[in-house]
Point group: C2
Chain length 449, copies 2
């Protein structure tokens, strides 16, 4: 901020970028906005960018109906009057949340995971849960956070916000390069640092769609015990796992309270409520209060971030859970069918339109919203812009999901937001685009960009 001039004319104070926290300048911070807003710049393009729910599911959501269900439950179970219900929905409330018991029941019903309601904090989406956990765990500059890479951009941003030193661990076919993680733990110790926690999204990760099999989950827990770190398990896309017996949550395999579980209702219920949760049953060794657990500390921190999650929004989600007997499997049956169908359609369209074009390859996730596509040329935001402007198709450069924004050759396709015919047409356009930008390079002709 320059000092004001000598003249009597008032002069605007100007903030220099160096006067702001480093996280403000981190490219990852702009990426979520990029994902949310890029479609607005190209309204006619078919967009494989947003990991947002299929919009048709949101059109018939009856807010008042679900609020009424939640109110009825309070009246029946806790003998609330209508006035008391209104006060609960509209007044301040406990920072831990109002629907913790319903979330605990859901985890028991769907996952056979028994956790106390008091080990849950209801958060403003999964994002706030990430931010709170990272804030609590980063005690000083020697703490490091290992993250599977490519990594959900919101996790990277939350780490930047609290100055958490990040260590990238490559994703492997079974989720995480464990030998690399083990080396990182040893390297950290050798330099006086410590890997405090490892972030993974083992069920059809964003952005790769990678799924971690049970043996890898068990091995990760063993490594956590050996090198004394916590596992932050993001379960956002877990609900899309079809079939009767999905791989167990890492949290379900955990006997040492090493896993902090993150969840969200954005994809299964509605993003508009901004309701997520964290299960943090780690005991705190204070001595003064043996019953204190990490969830208590996260709730305290939460009072300084958002005070409490909107009770109105919690009641909406609570009503949806009650209607579906506290089971996301029941609640999201139709949605899972849609997303599995979209993913199958996307893979089939890639086969159809790009199967004869070996310069481009992609993975074949069994669930989730995302497919990763590899090109022989660097992928950046300029390439997205050309794809949108000239070919009417949008997607996300994978560089957004890497810590150090180095050159990257991949892009992410999301299939959740589109109808089936849009997926077909979108891949048709993508094919035209890729053949236009990739072929000349392969044939040794300079690209005209």
């Amino acid at each position: 901020m320059p000092m004001p001039s000598e003249s009597s004319e008032p002069r605007s104070c100007v903030l220099q970028p160096s006067e702001l926290h480093s996280s403000v300048h981190d490219p990852s911070l702009g990426a979520v906005n990029f994902l949310n807003e890029i479609m607005q710049r190209h309204p006619k393009a078919i967009s494989f960018a947003p990991g947002a729910p299929y919009p048709v599911f949101l059109e018939s959501l009856d807010v008042q109906g679900y609020l009424d269900v939640f109110a009825q439950r309070l009246k029946a179970q806790r003998s609330f009057s209508s006035a008391q219900v209104q006060r609960l929905l509209h007044q301040y409330g406990p920072s831990k949340g109002l629907i913790n018991d319903l979330v605990a029941e859901l985890l028991l019903n769907d996952e056979e995971l028994a956790v106390g309601a008091d080990s849950i904090v209801i958060t403003v989406g999964c994002q706030e849960a990430m931010m709170l956990v990272l804030r609590a765990l980063r005690s000083g500059p020697n703490d490091q956070l290992a993250v599977v890479t490519p990594c959900y951009v919101g996790l990277i941003g939350a780490a930047r916000l609290v100055d958490f030193d990040l260590v990238a661990i490559d994703e492997s076919d079974d989720g995480l390069d464990l030998p690399q993680l083990e080396r990182a733990c040893r390297d950290a110790r050798a330099s006086g640092k410590r890997i405090k926690a490892v972030y993974v999204a083992p069920d059809h990760s964003n952005p790769s769609g990678t799924h971690m099999p049970e043996h890898a989950r068990v091995a990760l827990l063993a490594l956590a015990a050996e090198h004394d770190f916590l596992v932050i398990e993001d379960s956002t896309y877990r609900f899309t796992s079809a079939g009767p017996s999905p791989t167990a949550l890492i949290k379900s395999l955990d006997r040492e309270h090493r896993v902090i579980l993150l969840g969200t209702f954005a994809k299964t219920c509605t993003p508009g409520a901004r309701v997520g949760y964290v299960v943090a049953d780690q005991p705190i060794g204070t001595g003064r209060d043996p019953a204190r657990i990490l969830a208590d500390e996260l709730a305290s921190l939460k009072t300084m971030v958002t005070v409490n999650t909107s009770p109105l929004c919690q009641a909406l989600i609570g009503g949806m859970l009650v209607v579906h007997n506290c089971s996301i499997k029941r609640l999201a049956t139709e949605k899972v069918r849609r997303y599995q169908g979209n993913l199958d359609r996307l893979l089939a369209a890639l086969d159809e339109h790009l199967g004869d074009f070996p310069q481009v390859s992609w993975n074949r996730p069994s669930g989730g919203f995302f497919v990763r596509v590899r090109l022989p040329i660097p992928v950046d935001e300029a390439l997205v812009a050309r794809s949108a402007e000239e070919f009417g198709v949008l997607w996300t450069p994978m560089s957004h999901f890497h810590i150090n924004g180095t050159m990257n050759y991949e892009l992410r396709l999301s299939c959740s937001y589109l109808a089936e015919d849009q997926i077909d047409e979108g891949v048709r356009r993508l094919s035209r685009f890729l053949r236009a930008v990739v072929s000349p390079v392969r044939e040794g002709v300079a690209c005209d960009e």
Copy 2:
């Protein structure tokens, strides 16, 4: 976290307090929970603790009605279909917010303050606005934040969360001890540090009810220009100012973009929506994009804290604003009457029941929710507990609002949450309590606690 034992029996990982960020242990973090939850421990006590709205106002709030109003506006002004409205309310949205134009109109209508909608970020309550502003402004360990003391506990906590070094500036009768602030600026510079910003709540502050007259606002702005700091102006209780010509917002007197204005709809509309805002029109001197302002950076940071404020909650507040022609003065007329009446009643009851007891004194705010009472004995949480258990009356120890939790002789009474007869009965109980705990000490007899 201790290493696991040699036995094959799994052993729980235990987090040591030293492994968590220092803010977790800060006493200020527990204080808001204390305020929210203390009543639950003593349900029959009359509570002067919460700064929460009068609950009767919340009992008749028609959520669906206001959502419908907001929907109608979208249909009329932007030709939205019903499906488009539903998508806007339930899908992800821009991190800056959905109702920025309505908030800009409100500031113009009520304050004659002209700010662009793009300089506003809609936040999850005023708390998130505080947290985002402090995160952005704290660029390193040499940055200091000056805060009026006693200070709203949520501001202190947000500062702890981002490791912002705090400098306490005493509150004075006209709001802030400016000579002390000026010395603090010079001291900071002399030690290689810098006061980056000053937090004030000039309109009937929480916890003191102090009001800053216009000459003090002008003097603060002059000091800000001289010593190159920003002013963070918290307007939470401003709406309670009765009368036709309230003191101008500091932001309205600001010609240099030195003021960041914080506001909330929790007290005027409903706390349950968790909707607040920040006006941050400070230009950023990047060169690369001359139009970039601080609000853009705050919105980027917000994507890493809560992504976006619930569009559903924004639509509820938006509907309330539309119904009342974007004027909090119109929207809150009845509420202002109630809170002014409650404050008058509280002061009259103190006069009646404690006017003959000179050991205890209090201030006489002209607005807001709070009165500060001074005792001749230290005031701590043990004293609150005794007051609640033995005398059935609750209040907040002023030590919660001081940075360094030193011994304090004051308590805060809030009048917003109570009906008039509760105020009378509460002060009667308070009088009995104070005469029981204060008199023996005054007479030289050892207190039996």
